[in-house]
């Protein structure tokens, strides 16, 4: 925490070395979050770079009592949403994304996998992507932040500037929808949980 405070002090003075330190510390987190949000590696790099550029240029808006990671995730969330919005106005980009997702982006099928395993894995990936497309952008963001980026519920609330109750509600609904999309059975049908009951 003291290290973070020190880093914040140096960043507020416009120290370029501190900025590089920030980038080196958070580049993977920002990249993978953007990748989960926008779905293709080239766009993810673009969005993650945008996060750092915005952070550097608008560091004066950072509140000292906030957590640096929450602030960066918030910028990443907004940048990803902006990116998706721009992309929704350009239908051909979506097709590219689908093709990228189907081809697995950078990665080739691991050579250790036999064709049947590879095909099965591709199908599973397609199902997971499709399931994630069925949830709202807030539900998806909350889920990605918790499940893949391991932010605590209160950190997500700070990042997205919503209440913890809303975070829990979005997460619950998201997992429920994913469960339905992935055809995972449950033996009874409990009632929907809303903000009040959480």
């Amino acid at each position: 925490m003291t290290e973070e405070k020190e880093l914040i002090d140096r960043l507020s003075r416009g120290d370029m070395a501190a900025f590089r330190e920030l980038v080196e510390t958070y580049k993977k987190k920002m990249y993978y979050f953007a990748l989960d949000m926008v779905g293709n590696p080239a766009d993810a790099e673009d969005v993650s770079q945008e996060v750092f550029l915005k952070a550097f240029r608008s560091f004066k808006t950072f509140k000292r009592d906030a957590k640096l990671s929450s602030w960066l995730y918030r910028i990443a969330y907004n940048a990803s949403i902006d990116h998706l919005r721009r992309r929704s106005l350009a239908p051909q980009a979506v097709e590219d994304t689908v093709l990228d997702a189907l081809s697995g982006g950078f990665s080739e099928s691991p050579s250790s996998q036999n064709p049947a395993q590879a095909a099965e894995n591709s199908l599973l990936q397609a199902r997971i992507e499709k399931a994630l497309e069925k949830v709202s952008s807030q539900e998806r963001s909350v889920f990605l932040l918790r499940h893949y980026n391991e932010l605590m519920l209160n950190e997500i609330a700070e990042t997205m500037q919503i209440s913890i109750g809303s975070v829990k509600s979005y997460l619950f609904r998201c997992i429920r929808k994913l469960q339905k999309e992935l055809d995972i059975p449950r033996t009874s049908a409990p009632r929907e949980v809303n903000n009040e009951s959480l």
Partner: protein
């Protein structure tokens, strides 16, 4: 039943190990007794296990090593672009009087001479007058020909049903031809051709929001006008998402409520100073 409700309220935290010891004891005791909640918890755990299998392509060591270089290059490029797009007055003057090569002055002088020559020539020897066809407006003007507010209102009134038809269209429950896409496309094409003239007439600073709304509408209408003829449902869905994410119908309603369309709208609100609460 009350215990089940409490248990489901704790489920998300339990799945991610964020329960305190008291809640954890309650949760575990309840699951041991309630088969419905236990089944729910099992199914959700199973869902998360499946989601763990989501592949995240690893870009490789080279990508990470070059990340900073690419970022700093982009930063330099953007900074340079910003400087050239808005040079200071001093720099501009320096560029004109100090830094420009000699041939720039010669070219400028030649240009002035040519313009002067054309002007004198046209004054002394006026060109033969030939009848010129009256320029057709790009699109016929609607009602309220001269008042841009009335034209904006007409524009929005005509755009609204197109957007509503699109937003309310549900391909799962309706016939794909219920949308009457050819008609929506035709209306959109007509509206797109009017947008340019209308925007240039909405010059008043108080009409800024209206002008922005027309621009937003123009973008969406252009997409509708360019939809494929054969009811391309995927493309329709994308345009629909664009309308919803841009909050276009809400903006229209706000314009109607604020009185902007009756010409009695308020002055635009002053720009807020940036703060962390607002979008970064």
């Amino acid at each position: 039943m009350k215990a089940c409700k409490k248990c489901r309220g704790l489920l998300v935290q339990a799945l991610y190990g964020e329960l305190d010891s008291k809640d954890k004891t309650f949760f575990e005791d309840h699951l041991a007794r309630c088969t419905a909640c236990a089944a729910e918890s099992r199914a959700m755990t199973e869902t998360l296990k499946t989601m763990n299998r989501k592949a995240r392509p690893e870009p490789g060591q080279e990508f990470w090593e070059g990340y900073w270089d690419r970022l700093s290059r982009r930063m330099e490029k953007e900074d340079a672009a910003m400087e050239t797009s808005s040079p200071s007055a001093r720099k501009r003057l320096g560029r004109i009087f100090g830094l420009s090569p000699h041939w720039v002055f010669q070219a400028a002088a030649a240009f002035v001479l040519v313009v002067l020559g054309v002007f004198i020539g046209r004054t002394i020897f006026p060109p033969h007058q030939t009848p010129v066809a009256v320029a057709q407006p790009t699109a016929p003007l609607g009602p309220g020909e001269s008042d841009p507010i009335l034209r904006a209102r007409d524009y929005i009134d005509r755009s609204k049903p197109v957007l509503l038809a699109l937003v309310n269209y549900d391909p799962a429950s309706e016939d794909s031809y219920a949308l009457d896409l050819p008609l929506q496309k035709q209306i959109s094409q007509d509206l797109v051709t009017r947008a340019g003239a209308l925007k240039s007439d909405l010059k008043d600073p108080a009409q800024r929001r209206l002008r922005e709304l027309i621009t937003d509408l123009e973008t969406v209408l252009l997409q509708i006008a360019n939809l494929e003829a054969g009811n391309d449902l995927e493309a329709v869905e994308l345009v629909k998402q664009g309308v919803q994410s841009g909050g276009l119908l809400l903006k229209i309603n706000l314009s109607e409520m604020s009185g902007e369309l009756s010409g009695t709208g308020r002055q635009p609100a002053p720009v807020k100073s940036p703060s962390q609460k607002t979008k970064i």
